[in-house]
Amino acid sequence: MKNDWLFAPGHGLCAGCAIPIIVKHILAISGENTIVVNATGCLEVATTEYPRTAWRVPWVHVAFENAAAVASGIEAAMKKKGEKANIICFGGDGGTADIGIQALSGMVERGHNVLYVMYDNEAYMNTGIQRSGATPYGAWTTTSEVGKANPIGNARPKKPVAEIMVAHRASYVATVNVAFIRDFKKKVEKALKTEGPRFIHAISTCPTGWRSDPSKSIEIIKLATETGLFPLWESENGEEIKITYKPKFLPVEEYLKAQGRFRHLLKNPEYIEKIKEDIKQWWRRHGVEI
């Protein structure tokens, strides 16, 4: 892969973590003329322990909630100097959907020329698997504990961050899954060619937090899409989203049973029914009956 050296091996991310696969592929496409802004989280912590770094492009981390604001400042300085480079933010679901959503909303609304990538492992993993706004319905985390009084785990549906970005009329928004690498690459290329604020939502297996087999990481996120739970789509300038992959709509149990975080649901078919109903509703809203 051309430019695959821009994100170096030897970092401290867990075995089976999907983050480095996502990052490596994106940098391979964006190339050397790229500046990366990273929010606090697993990616940042595990790749830059001073004096070592896994980054061979200019990289900056400031804090948890402000990657989009830092990128806004970088872009403004580049405008003043008449320089051009890809500015790419990487933020986890927590740093993006929760604590960083204000800065992200502002960056997109002001129209900064930045590509923001949310790697979504569906919890605050760096601090030990606490729920985030992007944690799916029914998932166990250390702050959505499962017990007699709460058999569901996380009782709230996942915050639709990418759709929120469509509502902002971002110039390009897409959901991606590295298990569908052609679709992934096409969208990243398109995002990098588009001007203005762009947003990519990448699902990212976390074997540590999902309680899954590290050797099955790609199969598992593949199932997220094939069951209809993580649809692949894109949208330009706030327009109606376009589905880019029609899933096989495999039974969602296949996805759930591969992960310890959903184990408690298997004893509670009514919760699984709710997940199925939510999937059905999402696809119905987008013109597909399953």
């Binding site: 500046i35 802004v37 492009v57 200019p58 400042g73 970088i74 403004a76």
Partner: protein, 396 residues
Amino acid sequence: MKTMLRGNESVAYAFKLARIDVFPMFPITPSTLVPEMISKFVANGELDAEFIPLDSEHSAISAAIGASLKGARVGTATASQGLALMHEILFIASGMRLPIVMGIGNRALSAPINIWCDHQDTIAQRDTGWLQFYAESNQEGLDLILMAFKISEDKRVLLPSMVGLDAFVLTHTMEPVDIPEQSKVDEFLGEFKPNYRILDTKNPATFGAFGSPRHYMEFKYAQHLAMQAASHVIDEVFEEFERKFGRKYSKITEEFTEDADIVFITMGSCTGTAREFIKMKRKEGKKIGLIKLTVFRPFPKDELRKALKGKKVVAVVDRNFSPGFGGAVYGEVLATMYGRDEPKIIDFIVGLGGRDITFDTFEKILEITEKGLEGSVEEINWIEVDKEAVEKEEMI
């Protein structure tokens, strides 16, 4: 020729004269006029800068870091709640050694919400690693912003600076101000060429890395050395400024201290009132002197030790307070003088939340201070507080 300017206008002119490249902002009383003016300068084409109206002060200071790290000269302005919201990121700006300059309209902090003057906002940011300057007048506000760029950008320093102007008393009040010529400021500041590593795709580097216990302390020690160096650089820059512009600055300014038994220490605009009060009292034969603190970080320890040597009583006028201790300036002066034949040091908490500091205020301060010459007095004195009201009414 002098122009009538509000303090906020002084600050905005200073940023324009410094030819800032990027101005990230979020509005807050009493400093809002600064970004409004910069917006106008940019819209008119008078200033070639990128103006970013952010979604919060937290984002404004974050954008300032991004722009500074990309090699831009960056200014911004805020106050009170806005500065408090920046708190987390202020440490990062100094830890990353970025020479950002910020104008502050010194304002009280909530609760109760209050838009008027005191120094609580900047005092609460004392330990964030920023240089701190306090202006007595609008002229000082303008000059200190210009000098702050030169000091912050010095290779030996590379630390951000904040310059405080008292809310309303300065920010909204007209005073005659000499706006220096652009060519002279250009000569003084020079064209901005970052002398630190920046985000550069030709020379990639990692910024804001993870610092383990093996390395963290060295980063902090380097900041300590930079603060020490700043102390010398401030003197150099103040001298150069005087040579070029004819206005003298020093970290502490002593007036009438030579024969004084009693010394008042002040910060900010109340210094003017203190000066006139002291002049009046000296006519009555009272030996009172005045020390104005212009630089609070790095704290001018050596200068104060020299100035306070042999004095009998020091009255520290604190327009802030650290609950559970007393005034912050008092604490610093006490620590600075400890074990050095120290004078008696008495603290006066005054003028919080915009309460006026008048001759009457200083009269009360003097009364207690004179008692202190002879016998013992309270350590922390709250001046012009309606203590009865506090007892009678339910303030909690």
